[in-house]
Symmetry: C2
Subunit: 310 residues, 2 copies
Amino acid sequence: MNISERLLAGDKRAAARMITLLENNDPEAIELLKDLYKYTGNAYVIGITGPPGAGKSTLTDKLAKLIVKQGKRVAIVAIDPTSPFTGGAILGDRVRMSDLSANKNVFIRSMGARGHLGGISEATGAAVKVLDIYGVDYIFVETVGVGQSEVDIVKNCDTTVMVMVPGLGDDIQAIKAGVMEIGDIFAVNKADRDGAGKTAREINMMLDFNKGADWRPPVEKVIAVKNEGIEELFNHIMEHRNYMIQSDNFNHRRKINCKNEIVELVKQRVINLMLDKSYNEEFIETLSEDVANRKNNPYSACEEILNKLK
Amino acid sequence: MNISERLLAGDKRAAARMITLLENNDPEAIELLKDLYKYTGNAYVIGITGPPGAGKSTLTDKLAKLIVKQGKRVAIVAIDPTSPFTGGAILGDRVRMSDLSANKNVFIRSMGARGHLGGISEATGAAVKVLDIYGVDYIFVETVGVGQSEVDIVKNCDTTVMVMVPGLGDDIQAIKAGVMEIGDIFAVNKADRDGAGKTAREINMMLDFNKGADWRPPVEKVIAVKNEGIEELFNHIMEHRNYMIQSDNFNHRRKINCKNEIVELVKQRVINLMLDKSYNEEFIETLSEDVANRKNNPYSACEEILNKLK
């Protein structure tokens, strides 16, 4: 069997291999994925995001365990910050020593946040497609949610859980403001800590500002390490899924996600084309030097490149 | 006097107006900036970044006060998360009630992280240029440093201070890994808190992995609210500046920054061109719908757009 057939047959190693190939923007793998794309769309994709220290990995693990108990198959794609000195994804080793990884119904993948030719967003999108074809029921995409690229990633999920935590101090305002809009469900993790009630109240207050939305995100207190509140949280995910499907927001959101993905792909392809060594590097280097020396300016340099790209 | 002349004459209101125009990608303002670009390159640009809760604003304020005392002029460009519900930059109001804002030698600007046609990175770059032309000696660019766009912003500075803080728990590993490489100087703020020594040691250990670099980032414990360690921190900034200039890394980095900026501009222009309503929206909508319905796939759709852009 070739890799496509093995992937469709649910071969775990084929899935892992295919993701690696796509992480490296392998042209043949992309061609295969074009043909396989028609088999996607069946897995439900759940984004898990939140500030550093919120306990996202533990929470995701507990949710995954609950799903596995129901006889379903689940994948976790965890986007880790990449160590600048070792080049590897550091959390992959630290956190993912989970007893889940040996389970045949669980697929876990850590992806470094950098070093992808097409950007982490594209690599994540490709991994989600492969796992969808491979045949899991649920895919968790887990990422630290503060920056724009991280927000872009979870935006492409069907349901996104924002994990908050007590004790973030005044800066909870900043975090909330930066990512509030992408949360379909809010989990206040480590709810046995001081200030959990206050954090939940603050989130509820902020959500109450957003009158008129059809879906009012629920705020659930959980203690992931003790497995408390996980079932309630999962029920909220299912409620959101039902709401999305019944209101036709599901198809609407997926269409928007397709558009975002296409736009992102075009952006990356243009960058790759522009930076292609055999093509333009010298030209861009000279332009950059002229701009650095104030013989040119960045805006005119940009126009020169655009003219050349045409 | 027109706005360019007023800007060159050091008119504060002209600077503020020009930044606003450029935030809105005003074509005339961009034309003016092309001509004015030759007057840039004199201000020293210092990035201040770190996780939420690190006390970056207070630290920046204290550094700015120190510089003002030395008879120099200073600007602060603070990138704030944007409230999704109110649309405004929320920290602008909360934090910047500084006694500095009334000082004639200080220019403070809060910028919302979203809502810029060209992206926050482009808007920040434009603001830095305007302030450079306006004639300040130092420009601080302050941003939450976890995501990629935030990292991109401080990468374009001459010297970057990473502000860390005790009590981030295990997730300090993730934060460190994500942003370690961009810190020329590390400040451990709130150094009177438990765990400050441990945090400083962890950072030092991580830095020691990176053997062979010419510049070993110093790690300085500070208590910004008490103004402790601020002078030492500023001295480190000056040492880094001297090192950069003497080793010619200064010009090298500025050239790389120019290149990054040009690439970023091209990327944005392509996106704008692609999404231009009068041009392509219907085409992209149809493609997205076909992809959502699995009649097409994102990779082929991307190629169709690229062909059309040509």
